[in-house]
């Protein structure tokens, strides 16, 4: 994973990760580069002046798609010659463009040799953290008088990087150079254009004519301004809330991703830099978090996922009829079917969550047309739950991978190998069923029933779904309740034995509504209790469990997205104060990251570390972390569509002061919400 001092700019799935000088010198531990369609098109991009590397005085990420570097010759340990300065400005948007400006501050004229070393390894995104030794195809280089072509060919698979310059340069196989003469106070300027090409037969880019994306720079600026103008406004006594909100909106804009073949519609990609692609789960959960703010994302996400819904059995891709995809990729390993992401379907939560999002979207937007448009896809998703996911035949959603080489072991959001365990720390056999997915399935049936009754004119199907939901709830509360702990088991093994650890997943159960009323209080107390609540957020696994580790990826860290759904769940069952406590924790943590919450941070107690410790390899910005503050705002303000209007029932901590949320879009047009912090959280926590 890239170190935190790398600079990243992006547009869709084209992005540049570089050092703070703007240089790219990729290694497995520092996988920098220019990437597009999951392929690295530049693995080396080093600027030198008279053979010397440059030192960064400063850099700015001006916007998510552009950055500027101020450089001087010499590395940090040397004397810095301030008589020359170099400004490097770059942007992505269709292609990668870099302009270099050199200023001579000396009283004397200078002769300079400016050189950029350029190279491309055409690594698949899945390979960048390994030594790339045995590419199966051939790398080639062609230096022409006006450009440098770097290429890779394997059969008909052909990718090229084309480098050209506005000022005549001398191109050679390893880069290009300029010899310049600068009088005192004179400056010199060149613009370099780097095109990425994914060539099909006949030399045509396979993205051509398919992609509406790839906008020009001006369009990107305009687009961002419109995106912000269309979203609700936040005013608060505390600037930090406004800053966090604005950061989230901009990051959401940056994370919009347009799939190759679906005509420019965008959905939220999962995260920068390594997850700039669509993930069913991440995209849906992000849409659920951001519905009150950017509802259009939900509409396009639902349409895209519906278009790619599974229609047959494919064991390599783990596709079933009705299943919603897990992940899509466009790199070489996918092209040659060494990896299954074309797309890969190995997740069991995306399918029920698809139904949940469609219903929630209608409740906010009143977009009945979309509910009718997606009726068949929605029915197929509901059918998948019963027909293909109940591998054990006990009425639950189970998973066991069919692709035993490259498929995922754990097909729930906690997808690392050791995330699901018994209380003694051992791992259960497969198939496994995790609790939150049963909650999602329950919610999908309940919401599907509403859609069937109100919009599909099928009351019989609605009744059937309601009966099934009620039976599932009853069964679940019998089989999963850990009586001596007062919570629900994380998972069941195929013999029905409980993985009886205390985990954050119980918060998702509250959100889904599957929790029996008389048990909700106990679940709520666990979520704000010391074992789960760190002071910043809810730990993925409770302190005291055998596998608990404050920096265990899914075994003790705090995931802001996870906590935001716990807060929503608490609020759903009427625990508004408890929801405010954990919302306050996450929003407090956001301050330490300039409003940009990482994927996860350490589960250390707040009193111990005083600040949230970022998880070492966390991806940032990450879509569902970006969505977390938005969902927490919704939760604290108590925003809920109710019989065609927007109900507002704020419960804010006293320290949060006054918050206004203006122009909330929905079936009501635009509405405002006002709130004042009145809750004394300290008293409550005692």
């Amino acid at each position: 994973m890239a170190a935190s001092d790398t600079v990243r700019i992006l547009d869709g799935n084209t992005f540049v990760v570089s050092e703070s000088t703007g240089d790219i010198e990729a290694t497995p531990t520092e996988p920098t580069g220019l990437f597009s369609i999951d392929t690295r098109f530049l693995s080396k991009w080093i600027l030198t002046v008279n053979g010397e590397r440059l030192h960064a005085l400063s850099y700015d990420d001006l916007q998510y798609y552009e950055a500027r570097f101020f450089l001087v010759p010499g590395v940090a340990t040397h004397y810095i010659d301030a008589k020359l300065s170099i400004i490097r400005e770059r942007s992505v948007g269709g292609s990668f463009r870099e302009s270099i400006t050199i200023l001579n501050h000396d009283e004397k004229a200078v002769d300079l040799e400016i050189r950029v070393d350029a190279g491309a390894d055409f690594a698949d995104l899945f390979e960048v953290k390994d030594e790339i030794l045995n590419k199966k195809g051939e790398i080639y280089t062609e230096a022409a008088p006006d450009r440098l072509r770097l290429g890779y060919r394997r059969g008909n698979f052909n990718r090229e990087t084309i480098i050209s310059s506005s000022v005549a340069a001398r191109f050679d196989r390893d880069g290009f150079a300029y010899s310049i003469h600068l009088e005192p106070n004179e400056e010199w300027h060149t613009s370099i254009d780097v095109q990425t090409r994914a060539l099909g037969p006949g030399g045509r880019d396979l993205r051509m004519g398919l992609q509406v994306h790839g906008a020009e720079r001006l369009a990107l600026q305009q687009d961002l301004a419109e995106w912000i103008a269309n979203a609700p406004k936040v005013n608060s006594e505390h600037g930090e809330i406004c800053d966090t909100y604005r950061r989230c909106l901009i990051d959401l804009a940056a994370l919009r991703f347009s799939p190759l073949s679906l005509g420019g519609q965008t959905l939220p990609a999962a995260g920068l830099p390594w997850f700039m692609t669509m993930f069913g789960r991440d995209s849906i959960l992000t849409c659920l978090q951001t519905l009150p703010f950017t509802p259009d994302l939900s509409r396009t996400t639902l349409r895209i996922l519906a278009a790619l819904q599974g229609s047959r059995f494919d064991d390599f891709r783990e596709e079933d009829p009705g299943r919603i995809l897990h992940e899509m990729r466009y790199g070489e390993t996918v092209a040659f079917e060494e990896q299954p992401h074309s797309p890969y379907y190995g997740s069991v939560d995306a399918t029920p969550l698809f139904v949940v999002l469609l219903d929630e979207y209608e409740r906010w937007s009143g977009d009945v047309a979309l509910v009718k448009e997606l009726e068949q896809e929605c029915r197929r998703a509901l059918r998948w739950i019963d027909e293909y996911a109940d591998l054990v035949g006990t009425g639950y959603v189970w998973y066991q991978r069919r692709n035993t080489e490259t498929g995922l072991d754990n097909q729930c959001w906690k997808d690392s190998w050791d995330s699901i365990s018994y209380a003694d720390g051992t791992l259960p056999p497969f198939p496994r069923a995790t609790c939150e997915v049963q909650g999602y399935a329950y919610d999908a049936k309940v919401r599907g029933a509403r859609l069937a009754r109100e919009f599909w004119d099928d009351p019989a199907y609605a009744e059937q779904l309601e009966r099934e939901a009620a039976a599932l709830k009853e069964r679940f509360n019998r089989d999963w309740w850990v009586a001596d702990g007062g919570y629900y088991a994380l998972a069941l093994d195929p013999d029905g034995r409980q993985c009886d650890v205390l985990s954050s997943n119980i918060g998702h159960l509250l959100w889904s509504g599957i929790v029996d009323e008389d048990r909700a209080e106990q679940v709520a107390q666990h979520l704000i209790g010391e074992r789960l609540f760190s002071g910043w957020g809810v730990r993925t696994l409770a302190e005291g469990e055998v596998r608990y580790n404050p920096i265990g990826y899914h075994n003790g860290t705090v995931w802001p997205f996870d906590t935001s759904f716990c807060a929503w769940g608490l609020r759903r069952y009427g625990f508004a104060e408890e929801a405010a406590i954990i919302a306050n924790g996450i929003l407090g943590a956001a301050r330490y990251f300039d409003g940009r919450l990482p994927e996860a941070f350490g589960g250390y107690p707040r009193e111990q570390t005083k600040f949230p410790v970022e998880y070492p390899t966390a991806c940032s910005p990450q879509a569902w972390s970006t969505g977390a503050p938005l969902l927490l705002l919704r939760t604290m303000l108590g925003l809920e569509p109710h019989e065609g209007h927007l109900a507002v029932e704020p419960r804010l901590p006293a320290g949060m002061g006054r918050i206004e949320l203006l122009d909330i879009p929905g079936r009501w047009g635009r509405m405002d919400a006002f709130a004042r912090g009145r809750l004394d959280l300290h008293r409550l926590a005692e």
Binding site: F157, A198, G200, S342, E373
Partner: protein
């Protein structure tokens, strides 16, 4: 050319309707190149109603592939997106139609689907 491709398209034409395509309208033309020879299949979809012919006419989506690749697609041995990325197939025009049409292509011939666990009692 009494092959799987022909059977696929003829079967499609005879079926005349597929609910998986109920929301789709448009035309797709498959250009199957082999040496100097190109065979065409034109698929017209009108909200799920399907007509197939051998006409070489303008279409919303044009797919180019070898006959062998097409045979792989209609028998479930080849995946459309992987073939596109690999350069073994071209798609121009409205790619969404191709994505939607792929729904009715069969899965791999030996796919088993979900593995049921033995001991369950409901």
């Amino acid at each position: 050319m009494a092959d799987a491709t022909m059977r696929f398209f003829e079967d499609l034409d005879q079926r005349g309707y597929d609910p998986l395509l109920a929301k789709i309208s448009g035309t797709l033309r498959f250009d199957l190149h082999e040496g100097p020879q190109t065979t065409h299949w034109l698929v017209r979809i009108d909200r799920g109603r399907i007509q197939v012919s051998r006409q070489d006419m303008e279409a919303d989506t044009v797919i180019g592939a070898s006959p062998a690749m097409m045979e792989g697609m209609v028998t479930g041995r080849e995946n459309g997106l992987a073939a596109l990325l690999r350069g073994d197939m071209t798609v121009s025009g409205d790619a969404r139609l191709m994505v939607e049409l792929e729904r009715i292509f069969p899965g791999p011939p030996h796919a088993q689907g979900p593995r049921w666990y033995g001991k369950g009692v409901r």
